[in-house]
Point group: C2
Chain length 271, copies 2
């Protein structure tokens, strides 16, 4: 079982190309998880922008779902600026593009002074009153292996109110040796995983099965304080087989650390 | 004075390359506007995905501000799928990358049935009670030429409440011959412009000057009904010299048509 560091490790192969191993544990139904893939791609991006050690923004389109096993990430610095750099990255496998991404990297501050804030954290039940997601929330036979690696504590009210508004806490599970309580802080690439970690909020509406991401964009706003992240992931519109998912994460001092959005395909029960 | 169609026209030059002319009228302070650039890039993208005539998602990083004049857009189809295609696009000028973008294209429905919606349009004063933005809202000498081409009617309450929450109406100004009342509907690429058209909501907080976009992502959710768009553009956090801007647009039947987000640099007055 590979911890996050090991599972997202990339190895330089020259000419802006990096070799990676897509890990069997960071999967959903046997397929590498989208947030995990974005974090792994971010690892290769940060390898080429040493002056800018954090992602400020990461956007990805998911062209085809990769398999567990070897993959290649190729990166191209579009522009290396003073305050920020722009980088393009592509994760390929068996000659096919699986994920294509654009990053803006920079130097993220810890708790930069907020000149304006209108993003209060939602009320979330204390962690001990939340439901830690089991391995098979989508029914037997659909194994979400990554739930061995991270602890997702969902506020039961999220399901009770059935408003596509999922609230809870997210932490790496240090019992499994997969990570550490402080990983969000030590390794900001992990926040890219956090941007997509929670189950799709459409589950509370009865959506059926897999909700594959078409596009995911995450902004990192602060290096978090130690402790679990408070997560809110909600949808504003389910229509035409598509859903938007807005994810926000706050640290233990209630500061905004991640703002993300994605567009995904969704199947709803027949009306 | 070139209308939107003409100003975003691209001409095939072979090998996935398109020639464009960045128009002097679609500018802010003499520089081509970010939403206009995204629309122009979208024009080239749609030229190569004929089966998928609309953008479902568009994400761009702005590496360096281009100048008015000739530019090149190169596109690469990453994957042509059944329901959607993924396309990469790059706008270059004088050998430098100015905008790099990722698109998901598909067939957008008109008013797809909403299986869930939690995105009510905000109250906005009637158009005749709104303030049509003058040419120099940022002070004399800073000319926003595109305000000749489009009509931005801002609800005065947006400034009165100073909450980085800008509400109003957006229409192409048919008096100037720049467009037509129905353009949002006829030409969905125009919705990419709409995603970034309004002034930065930080203006209501007293932010200083230009608010350059680092990353912009827009999702199109429906082909709009005729009429002006209702726009809400708001920020959730201003910190560390950066601001997020969430833009939503509704059509005249109160249906969500655009959901967008951007990360931009911002200067605030000294505290």
């Amino acid at each position: 079982m590979a911890g996050f560091d090991e599972a997202t490790r990339v190895e330089a192969a020259g000419d802006g190309t990096y070799r990676a191993q897509l890990d069997p544990e960071w999967t959903v139904g046997g397929r590498p998880h989208g947030g995990y893939l974005l974090a792994l791609v971010g690892r290769a991006v940060l390898a080429v922008t040493a002056d800018h050690p954090q992602p400020l923004s990461a956007s990805a389109v998911y062209a085809s779902s990769p398999e567990v096993g070897p993959a290649t990430v190729s990166v191209e610095v579009i522009r290396a600026g003073r305050l920020a750099s722009q980088v393009r990255a592509r994760l390929s496998q068996q000659g096919r593009v699986r994920v294509e991404a654009l990053f803006v990297t920079g130097a993220l501050e810890e708790a930069p002074e907020a000149r304006f804030a209108d993003a209060p954290p939602p009320a979330v039940a204390p962690i001990e009153e939340c439901t830690r997601l089991p391995m098979e929330p989508m029914g037997p036979g659909f194994r979400i292996a990554m739930l061995d690696m991270v602890a997702q504590h969902i506020d039961p009210a999220s399901f009770a109110d059935a408003r596509a508004d999922m609230r809870g806490w997210l932490a790496f599970d240090d019992r499994t040796g997969a990570g550490e309580p402080d990983i969000w802080r030590r390794d900001t690439v992990s926040l890219l995983y956090a941007a997509d970690a929670f189950p799709p909020p459409t589950l509370t509406l009865g959506s059926i099965g897999w909700v594959p991401t078409l596009e995911l964009t995450a902004y990192l706003r602060s290096i978090p304080a130690p402790g679990p992240l408070r997560i809110r992931q909600r949808s504003r519109l389910v229509a035409g087989g598509l859903v938007d998912i807005v994810c926000e994460a706050w640290d233990s001092l209630d500061r905004v650390v991640v703002q993300a959005t994605q567009l995904a395909a969704v199947r709803m029960p027949t009306a």
